[in-house]
Structures are given as C-alpha cells and as structure tokens.
C-alpha cells in the first residue's frame, strides 16, 4: 500500500505541472504514514466532524444551486447571473443584520434577526429576480442559448461592479469580506458545540449545524412546493415539456417568472448564510466563486433534478469538508485542494455519467 502510494506520487511528479501540486503533500506522511493518516481519519470524532460540517456546507450549496437547476429545468436557461444574486443576498442580508444587531444583542435576538433578514432577503430578491426575468430575459427566449448565456453573464458582471462601487464608496471594500456583517454572528455559532465536545469529544463548529438545519428546512419547503402544489406540478411537467404544458392551458410565461423569482430568492437566501460562514463572508468575489460551486452541484446532480441537487450538494459539501480537514491538519498544504477536488469530481461525473446522478437524457428547452 505504502509502496503503491509512493510510486503513484513519484509518477505524478514526472509531469512538471502535477509535480507542483504533489509538492504540497506532506511527503513523509504520504510515503511512510498512511497508517497514521487512516488512523487519524477514521477516528469517530474526525469522521463525525467531517460529516456534520460537510452537511452544513452542503446546505448552503443546495440553497444556491437549487434555483439554478429549477430555472434550467423549466426554462432551459443557464443563468450565469445566479452567483451575483447570492452575492446581493449576502450584502442585503448584511445590511439588515448590521442595521439591527448591536454589540449588546443576545444570542436569541441575533438568531431571530437572522431569520428576519433571511425572510426580507428572500422576498426582496425574489421580486428582483422576477423583474429581471420579465424585463431582460423574457425578450430573448426565442433566441439561441448563446444570447441567454451572454445576457445573464453580463447581468452578473454589472451587479458585481455596482456592488464593488457601492461597497468601495461606503468603505466596506477592498477588505476581502465585510467584517461588520460577518461579525454579527453570535459567539455561540462561532465556536464548537459544548455538549458534543464534552460528551463525545467532537469538535464541530456550531454554525455548520445551524446551516444544516436551515438547509433541511429550505429543502423540505421546496420539495413540498414541487410535489404538493399545482404550481409545483406545472414546474415538474414544464421541465419535461413546457410546450405541452402551455397547450394544456397553463400560462408558462408566468410560471417562468415565478420560478426565476423563487430561484433568485433561494440563491440570495444562501447568500445570507454565507454572511456568517467563516470561509466565505459577504464579498463581491462571491459572484464568480459561488457560481462555480453551484454549477458543479447542478451538473453532478443532473441538470433540472431536485433530487440530484440534494445528493450532489451533499457530495460536494462532504468533499469540501474532508479536503478542508486535510489542509487544516497539515496533511496537505495546498490551499486550493477543496476547489481542485470538487472540480475533479465534476470531471469524473462528466466522464462516467454525463447526465449527472439523477439527470434525464434531455431536459429544459421550450
């Protein structure tokens, strides 16, 4: 086993580009301490921590990606402005949090105001998304997909630049993140959960459990909407054949607006969670960074599939959590490992199952 791994690493090092990455691996550990590594990984507290933090990350990826997949499934539109909607959600949420939370606010108040901020952001951004769909996207439905990609990418860039200008003028940027907004997180969510640490020795950052709970609530709400409402039925049917849905008397254009609005609201909701996320925080960089993650989740899960988005978000979240652990424990010193791993997962999915985990051969389009 050890020989195999060392041979593998030596083989990689022959290629100059890969040698650069291999150099980040803790070679003594890789060559001689595989047993040690496995022993550390397989400790119950490590596995539980990776899993729980992975679920928290997955919850946020899910919130952002589910809107993207619903919009593509029903409308056949690849929305490149989706990351910008999450970014705006983080900023609007930040404005509400900074404006309402003071240094003296208790834990309960902060959590309550977070819920209020999430509700406000969802409502405001859903309305904004509906307006974008009606005024900008709708006029080009009959054009080739390239037009939609260029338009939505352009909307994303405009929103990013506008945010950059506003945050610079307000003195919030060029800090990497808006620390005042990120700082509204209650102390209890910043640390690990005492009871888990004391009783089981598990050191899990409480924020990730908070995010996981939020993700489960949002996923349940979206699932109930899709399966228990007439509008959800229209959306599921429209994902298969929107022309047929229209011929049955359903105003598909209105359904497009509703779905685009809900998708935007959900992305923004994910953005509100990112405000408190220790690895993200509100930043104009969210536009592209989050968009890439969302696309990876959507492609791995299968374009247009709700179930696939849930599954892929979990895969990506746990992979992110695992590789972050590798970095934090010093086993790998390459800081881009989570991103590289996640994109390798994407490539592997495209090679092995191009339609994704739950995707059908052909979805979307109208």
């Amino acid at each position: 086993m050890i020989g195999t791994l060392s041979g593998f690493l030596a083989g990689l090092a022959v290629v100059p580009e890969l040698a650069a990455i291999v150099s980040f691996v803790d070679v003594p550990l890789a060559l001689g301490g595989v047993g040690d590594f496995l022993a550390r990984l397989l400790q119950p507290d490590t596995l539980v921590r990776i899993l729980l933090e992975g679920m928290g990350k997955a919850a946020i990826y899910f919130m952002i990606a589910v809107g993207l997949t619903l919009v593509f499934g029903l409308m056949g539109v690849l929305n490149f402005a989706h990351g910008a909607f999450a970014m705006l959600g983080a900023y609007v949420g930040g404005i509400v949090l900074v404006g309402t939370i003071s240094a003296g606010s208790g834990v309960g108040t902060r959590l309550l105001l977070f819920v209020v901020a999430a509700g406000v952001v969802f409502a405001v951004m859903a309305a904004f998304g509906a307006a974008v769909e009606t005024k900008l996207v709708r006029p080009i439905y009959d054009r080739p997909p390239t037009y939609q990609i260029l338009l939505t990418f352009g909307i994303g860039l405009v929103l990013e630049e506008l945010s950059r200008i506003v945050t610079t003028l307000r003195g919030i940027q060029p800090e990497p993140t808006w620390s005042a907004a990120a700082g509204t997180i209650p102390a209890v969510l910043e640390g690990s959960i005492d009871i888990l640490q004391e009783t089981l020795g598990i050191n899990v950052r409480a924020f990730y459990l908070f995010a996981a709970a939020g993700g489960i609530l949002v996923a349940t709400a979206v699932w109930l909407f899709l399966t228990r409402t007439l509008y959800g039925l229209y959306i599921r049917a429209g994902s298969e054949d929107s022309e047929m849905v229209e011929a049955l008397g359903v105003d598909v254009r209105r359904a497009f607006t509703v779905v685009f609005g809900i998708g935007t609201g959900l992305a923004a909701l994910g953005g509100v969670f990112l405000t408190w996320d220790p690895t993200w925080g509100p930043s104009v960089l969210l536009n592209i960074d989050v968009l890439l993650f969302a696309f990876v989740v959507v492609v791995i899960g299968g374009l247009g599939s709700f179930k696939g988005t849930v599954a892929a978000a979990l895969v990506v979240g746990v992979a992110d959590s695992f590789t972050t652990w590798l970095f934090h424990t010093g086993i790998v010193t390459f800081p881009g490992l989570p991103e590289v791993t996640i994109f390798l997962l994407l490539v592997a999915t495209l090679v092995v199952k191009p339609q994704g985990l739950y995707g059908v051969e052909e979805v979307g389009g109208h």
Binding site: L233, A237, E240, M244, L248, G249, R253
Partner: protein, 232 residues
C-alpha cells in the same frame, strides 16, 4: 355557427412556407379528418389552430372569436384540447398527475377525474404509476384522457394510431368514439380506413393547401381524387 373556421391561413417555419392559404370549417359535434401525405401541413394546421406556430397571415376563429395571435394557453383555456403526435405524456409524473395538470386551478378536478377514470378504467389501475412505465397504448389512452378532461369543445387529435399494435388501435378507436360523443374533433391520421371509419367529413391537404373536401360517406382509398394525393 361553426366551432372552428380557418380563413386563408399561412404559416411558416423560418423561411419555409408550410401552410399556403388553408381554409376549413368544423361544425359542432363533427369529427373532421385531415388527410394528406407526410409533410403537407396537417400537424402544422393543428399547431396553427393552437397558436403553437402562429400563422403569419389569415384568421383562426374559434366559437366565433378571432383567436389569431393569442397565447397558446389562452386558446387552450377557451376549450381547445390537444392529443399530440407521439403522445407527449409527462413521463416523470404519475398517471393521475398527468390528468390533474389538464384541469385548471378553478376546475372541479375530482368529479372530472372520476369521469375520466370511469371512461378509461385501465388508467385508474395505474393512477399512481409514472407515465413512462406505461405501454404505448396506455400512454395513448392517457394522452386522449388528458385532452378530454379539460371539458373542451374541440379536440385536436394527431396520429393516434401511430406505432400501435392493431389490437391496441381498436381500443384507441373506441376511446376516440367515446370522446367524440362529448366534443367536436379534428383527426389527423395516416391510417386511411380508420380515418374514414371515424370521421364525418374530410379535408385533403397537398402542398399546404386544401385540395379536396367533403363527406366521408362512400369514400374509399380507390377514389381517384384520394389516390392522386395519398399515393406514395
């Protein structure tokens, strides 16, 4: 008053001029067959009526109202149902959901559903099954049921026997007869004897225009005017 009137309808796909001035009328309670070789514009005529491919010139009048240029959903909500070619049932929805979607938010769904399942008892057995798991004949029944459930005044039926075994075709014909008792129908069908058996009148299309029309009574495939346009 006619249920449907098409007056000098011209429809294009891009630059391709498919319907080149179609005129036809359908009276209440009739079954009218649209005949013609592949590519003469039969399906396009149905699509033009529904405004799925809106005509560039001419008028489509339904129940006396000009519906040219309206949204497809508005035409459908005025009482036009569609049983498309290749069925196009929603494969990932259950049989019941396929029926449910055809009833608008204000429709009396439960009574309409019970009526449909009485008419198509086979479908009731599979009501919780995803439609993609049904056989071709069952999917065709479902497509017809879905077209009927909206309480439509006009049903546009496109190639209902296509790809089905003869025994299944008989069941489909029975279903269409049941449907015709409740609604006026336009039937596009390549199976000439079947079309003549079901329809009261026919329109024969060639190169995007109506070249013959009349009662189906006594018309056979040997009829010179039919042979000229239907022979391969």
């Amino acid at each position: 008053m006619s249920v449907l009137e098409l007056e000098d309808v011209h429809t294009y796909y891009g630059e391709s001029h498919v319907l080149q001035g179609v005129d036809l009328q359908v009276e209440a309670g009739e079954i009218v067959a649209l005949l013609g070789r592949n590519g003469v514009g039969k399906t396009t005529t149905l699509r033009s009526i529904l405004q799925l491919t809106p005509p560039r010139e001419g008028t489509v009048r339904f129940a006396g109202e000009d519906v040219t240029g309206l949204a497809t959903s508005d035409v459908a909500n005025r009482g036009v149902g569609w049983v498309p070619e290749e069925r196009r049932v929603f494969g990932y929805l259950t049989v019941e959901e396929n029926v449910r979607i055809a009833v608008g938010p204000d429709g009396e769904y439960e009574s309409l559903r019970d009526e449909i399942f009485t008419l198509f008892p086979d479908l009731e057995r599979f009501r919780d099954e995803e439609a993609r798991n049904l056989s071709g004949g069952q999917q065709q029944m479902l497509a017809i049921a879905r077209g009927m459930v909206g309480d439509n005044d006009l049903l546009l039926v496109d190639e209902p026997s296509e790809g089905l075994a003869p025994m299944i075709v008989e069941q489909v014909v029975d279903a269409l007869r049941e449907a015709s008792a409740e609604t006026t129908m336009i039937l596009v069908e390549q199976n000439f004897p079947l079309a003549m058996d079901l329809a009261d009148r026919f329109y024969l299309l060639d190169q995007g225009t109506v070249v013959e029309s009349g009662s189906t009574e006594g018309v056979t495939a040997d009829d010179e005017r039919i042979r000229r346009y239907l022979a391969a």
